[in-house]
Symmetry: none
Subunit: 420 residues, 2 copies
């Protein structure tokens, strides 16, 4: 695809060069830039070294029309992005009184004394536009240098993303002005990547625009459809055609095409139908409740949750029969069903969910291996239990996949789709 502008992204911070660390800002920016037709030719992760940073800015400015940096805008001695960019541009830094005053007020608002080290966050490169940062102390900076755009963004993703989306992207969209690139993500829960691939490869290989990328993760597969056209509408129309064919091939398994993750989709269905629910979790230990309450307005549908780790709590709180626990074991179809029904009854809710399983790494047997999970759904129409086995990837992955399977079971139940 022909791209109008070429960008380089500099991710600044020695800590990003730790072997175990994954840099995520550059990936995010790459995706957003593609949407407005700006292709990223290089991404650099750089140590907090003044000379290195200055050289990186100078070189990037010689190669790309758009140079974005993230990080190095904080108050500490390691924060060198401002100085390095100013030197590469051959422009002075000036302490901006308005930015300084805003910093002071921010500290005062939170009843804290501003340490003097913070003042350097008010240093602005001559000719730069200040990008306000309502979510942190370090403002961003934006310069137009002979038609080349230089943007300094803060490092924390929750500060960087809204600043870029709201204050930088509209400008780029305007300047790029030509071809539109649109990406849509189709999400599928609780299905193996190879099974999805088997069903959809015969379809998407017929198309060269949109292109399709399959991305598999724990408990989820994503299909990224990307189309290029003269307008966003034309690109979207191209995607519509392919998405419809994929939806049909996957028969009800695509749960989202609008960016929403599974908990949000399920929460939306419960709210629409004005249904209340209660959850009882053993091996997931609160993860399902935590995921369901991550979005605003969860109080509309979640009456309560139980984390019943001990057998005693299963008996006392959910009314599980001690004889059943003894006979079938805590990890069993019967106990999952009893947990779901008990949670629903105690809460007086419309729907109850019960999860019990072996998250590992210990506790597995030949009969009941690590990764075995029973998920029960209890409602007006009765109780349904699914037995699932997640053999790969350790405790955290088992727990996540169990919560994901419970949400998919709930989604299908709410939509009246046949159980898996």
């Amino acid at each position: 695809m022909a791209l109008s502008f070429r960008a380089e992204i500099l991710a600044v911070g020695s800590e990003l060069l730790a072997p175990e660390r994954q840099e995520t800002n550059a990936s995010y920016l790459t995706g957003r830039l593609l949407e407005v037709g700006v292709g990223v030719a290089a991404r650099l992760t750089l140590a907090d070294d003044r000379a290195l940073l200055e050289s990186a800015f100078r070189i990037a400015l010689g190669r790309a029309e758009v140079v974005l940096s993230t990080g190095g805008l904080g108050p500490t001695e390691d924060d060198l992005t401002r100085e390095a960019a100013a030197a590469a541009l051959g422009r002075p830094l000036r302490r901006d009184p308005a930015v300084l005053e805003a910093l002071r007020q921010r500290f005062a608002r939170f009843k804290r004394v501003m340490a003097p080290v913070n003042e350097k966050q008010a240093d602005v490169i001559e000719g730069a536009r200040v990008l306000v940062n309502p979510l942190g102390t370090a403002p961003g900076q934006l310069l137009d240098v002979d038609g080349r755009l230089v943007v300094l963004l803060p490092g924390p993703p929750h500060e960087m993303k809204p600043m870029f989306d709201e204050q930088v992207l509209p400008l780029l969209r305007q300047q790029a002005g030509g071809r539109a690139i649109v990406t849509r993500i189709l999400r599928i829960a609780s299905m193996a990547e190879s099974d999805v691939e088997q069903l959809v490869a015969p379809i998407y290989t017929r198309f060269s625009n949109p292109t399709t990328t399959i991305l598999g993760g724990a408990g989820q597969v994503e299909l990224h459809l990307t189309a290029e056209a003269a307008s966003a509408e034309d690109a979207a129309a191209r995607i519509d055609e392919l998405a419809a064919a994929i939806r049909q091939a996957l028969a009800g398994r695509v749960y989202s095409e609008d960016g929403r993750e599974l908990p949000e989709v399920v929460a939306g269905l419960l709210k629409e139908r004005r249904l209340t629910m209660a959850v009882a979790e053993s091996c997931t230990g609160g993860l399902l409740a935590a995921r369901l309450t991550d979005g605003a307005g969860a109080s509309e549908f979640l009456e309560r949750g139980y984390v019943t780790y001990s057998n005693r709590s299963k008996v006392e709180l959910l009314g599980v029969d001690p004889v059943l626990l003894e006979r079938a074991g805590a990890v069993s179809e019967e106990v999952a069903a009893s947990m779901a029904a008990g949670a629903r009854r105690a809460a007086g809710a419309d729907v109850g969910v019960g999860i019990t399983g072996i998250a590992g790494p210990g506790g597995g047997t030949a009969d009941k291996p690590v990764g075995l999970v029973f998920i029960a759904l209890d409602g007006a129409a009765g109780t349904r239990v699914r037995r699932a086995h997640f053999p790969y990837g350790g405790r955290q992955r088992v727990r996540f996949q169990a919560s994901q399977a419970a949400l998919e079971m709930l989604r299908r139940g709410l939509l009246g789709l046949a159980p898996l």
Copy 2:
């Protein structure tokens, strides 16, 4: 700090610049290089563009003693690493007859005809040593250019890793002459980055080895101390000295120096002391329980958890007085205390935790703004409540910080440290 050698890593391939793609070769190489005292100053991910690659090699050679590339050694038109490196070094490429013959034999062994495009994989930069690749077709190349090491490695990790480990690392270990680099991470919970900086900057700026990097995140600050010395023991001793001074300045706030995160530290304290606990969560909606049960063996200490989202569930499950709920409001010091005490009593546990607050984005008032959270700890010594306000970063961050503050309160209580 004086690292013996400084390295840059160039990861080559347009596919690595897809938004959803994570580059893993550079992380791997960074870890291996650190082991032999070679610090990575920059990691670049580069599109398959001849001019860009040549410029990247030229610049890296001017800044670093070790330049490693991965990818771009295959047979297709996009594979441009050989040509770009040769041009940057000002040396010709020569087709190596021995490499060509080995390629032919490899194809013959797998009973395949070698397409002519494959021949360019036998092109070797003048003066380069060929690195054999038993697991793929593209050999690597290694050059010593006036004491600077240039290494071209293949992109597939299963080919790259053994080639690097067996044919490159021993050479680097020899040249680096046994210098060791050790990093230790000190973690501090529920304290602002600038407050930590203010206390520790006067200390760490006195040291040039170890170097110190401060990294702030939601509800947590990390201090990365990195020392270089002739042996790992000497490097560790240097870190010990600085870490002791920092620990003292931060008076009990450093919760981990061994890589453990806060939930694991708290779980360890509870297990050591053979204490059981119960948690009652409102605004965190199960997040505290989920974080505590993320590690194995949580059943040793977590008797149960309650997600009491509705007032009714607070009354029924925790025995919170409805009159108190009406008078003080669900988000109040009194209700947090009653939740903690109720959870402890109902579970017959040693410790109870209660969390209630306004996670937002809605529901805030002038008196009780979004981000206001009350956290209560109930035990044999009585009940203690902390009022905290997390004004930044939205619902998910408020919830995470509330869980973090609860864990820190628990840790201090278990260690007998004064409340914050």
